[in-house]
């Protein structure tokens, strides 16, 4: 599903965020991306969202090389990807419902379809009764769950999360992770960037560790700490 082939990213000014990173993820696989801040986690996710383009190497999604994807096609690629942000990036000028509906509106779903799918997504994160509220009135954990609902409402093939539990207490973090696990169970490829070591140790899953832009470790068992 996802294949990084000797990928490097050098920013303007010479800073090398990623160096010859290679890995592969199958469809329906879930993995954690970890490492100190500045190790390249965010850059890796940005490359996957096509916010940044690699300096060298190939990035293949579903066998297609993203390097050759023209600017005009980028939005259509992003519609196959769901993203959860640390700061959740919710819009406070509209209701919870409208926040979650955004990816569907953008893709041109019909009014009735949007209603059904948004409620299904809110139901899956347990916030169906909050659809009419403004997200600013919700707690941190609830806001993040709205963010998750928005990331999965259009049923993406890939779900990316950048420090999704960064601001949450351990119990809420575990809830969010359990949510991700549920999406993996229905076939979504899930990649979660986090430095929450305790959490991922408990989950017993594939862990990829970046160090200064290089893939330091990639495997199920977690050692080194």
């Amino acid at each position: 599903m996802i294949r990084f082939d000797n990928l490097s990213k050098r920013y303007e000014g010479g800073y090398e965020a990623l160096r010859n990173v290679s890995f592969e993820m199958d469809a329906g696989e879930m993995a954690f991306l970890t490492g100190h801040s500045g190790a390249g986690k965010s850059t890796l996710l940005k490359l996957l969202m096509l916010i940044e383009r690699p300096t060298s190497g190939n990035l293949l999604i579903n066998g297609k090389n993203l390097n050759r994807l023209p600017h005009a096609k980028v939005p259509f690629y992003r519609r196959q990807v769901g993203v959860v942000f640390q700061n959740h990036q919710l819009l406070f000028d509209r209701t919870v419902f409208d926040n979650v509906a955004l990816p569907l509106q953008v893709a041109g779903y019909s009014h009735a379809d949007i209603g059904r799918r948004v409620r299904a997504a809110l139901d899956s994160v347990g916030l169906l009764d909050r659809e009419r509220q403004n997200p600013i009135a919700l707690s941190g954990g609830e806001q993040q769950r709205v963010g998750v609902a928005r990331a999965v409402v259009h049923k993406p093939k890939i779900l990316l999360a950048d420090e999704p539990t960064g601001n949450l207490d351990p119990q809420l973090s575990a809830e969010i992770m359990a949510l991700f696990k549920r999406f993996q169970d229905v076939g979504v490829t899930v990649l979660v960037a986090t430095h929450d070591i305790d959490l991922i140790n408990r989950m017993n899953m594939r862990i990829m560790r970046l160090n200064q832009g290089q893939m330091e470790q990639d495997g199920i068992s977690y050692g080194g700490y």
Binding site: I51, A72, Y77, R78, L91, L102, V106, V186
Partner: protein, 322 residues
């Protein structure tokens, strides 16, 4: 329908939308965008009002000047048809010669009518109109010549007719009072050029004003643009609400300009009627009219749209999610 239900029940993947579904939601999005653009405009009434007024004033100035020039040129058009050639006959011409000259004048091509003014009737009219009646009594003989008034069919033919008439034997002098008309025409030409220059300059001003307003709108909706881009909104989708706003500003500005022009016309109607009355004329000023109003809307709308387009093109690229 059954197939769609199946897909959603299985809940496997985002579905592929059909053409008609896309078209329907495209139209729906256009309507929704228009609605939110109007609401956004109303949410910041002062800023919107200022922008609309600036556009309205910038459109009113050249439009008012244009209407002024057009009204004056209509006036001079009315004068064109009354341009007459005065033909003064040499002293002492006898009646048979005068009759012959009249026939000759009528025979010229491009002449609409010829009328004879005898020296005596000219003197009588002069006495009546000038107020020198009693003084003229002291004249021994009539100093005025016999004359003909020649009415050309076309104003443009007048100079050619003057040249031909001047060659005739009995003719002493020919006068065509068109110099002032030519001057007026030249002035109107300058007026029209001025309208164009003013319209272009102020049109550019409107583009800048709309561009600036849209730039502020883009900045205040930065978060929204970022998120829309991240969830797969195309550039066209992101651009659309701002283009609608620009179009609305332009159209509202044109509407206010039309109201200003109508009030101006209303305000000037009375004094113009008074002035026309002094010249025994039925003249009244003509306004924009329906066609002119549509053109004004078209210009306002396009200028607003262009301003928005430029601002959007310049600023949207800069907003990159991070």
């Amino acid at each position: 329908m059954a197939a769609t239900d199946n897909t959603s029940r299985r809940g496997a993947r985002g579905k592929v939308l059909s053409r008609t579904e896309r078209l329907r939601s495209y139209r729906y999005h256009h309507r929704a965008t228009l609605k939110t653009s109007v609401l956004k405009m109303l949410r910041e009434p002062l800023q919107s009002l200022l922008t609309i007024l600036v556009i309205a004033i910038a459109l009113t100035l050249p439009a008012a000047l244009y209407l002024g020039v057009e009204n004056i040129s209509q006036l001079s058009g009315g004068v064109d048809s009354s341009a007459q050639i005065s033909v003064f006959v040499k002293k002492g011409a006898r009646d048979p010669a005068l009759t012959k000259l009249a026939e000759q004048l009528e025979g010229l091509s491009g002449v609409a009518s010829v009328s004879y003014i005898s020296a005596q009737s000219a003197l009588d009219e002069f006495k009546a109109v000038s107020g020198f009646g009693s003084a003229l009594q002291y004249l021994d003989n009539n100093p005025l010549p016999e004359a003909f008034l020649v009415q050309p069919l076309l104003f443009n033919d007048a100079s050619r007719l003057v040249a031909e008439i001047r060659k005739m034997a009995l003719v002493d002098d020919v006068q065509l009072d068109m110099a002032w008309l030519q001057r007026l025409d030249a002035l109107l030409d300058i007026g029209r050029k001025l309208v164009l220059a003013l319209a272009v300059a102020l049109g550019l001003g409107v583009i800048l004003v709309v561009g600036n307003t849209i730039r502020l709108a883009i900045q205040s909706r930065r978060d929204e643009i970022t998120v829309v881009k991240l969830v797969g909104g195309t550039d066209a989708y992101v651009r659309r609400p701002f283009l609608y706003s620009g179009l609305l500003f332009g159209l509202m500005g044109a509407l206010v300009a039309a109201i200003l022009l109508a009030s101006l016309g209303f305000w000037l109607a009375e004094p113009v009627r008074n002035l026309a009355g002094l010249y025994q004329s039925q003249y009244s000023i003509s306004g924009l009219g329906f066609g002119g109003f549509m053109v004004l809307l078209l210009i306002g709308g396009s200028v607003g749209l262009i301003g928005a387009w430029l601002a959007v093109g310049q600023h949207l690229r800069k907003i990159k999610p991070n």
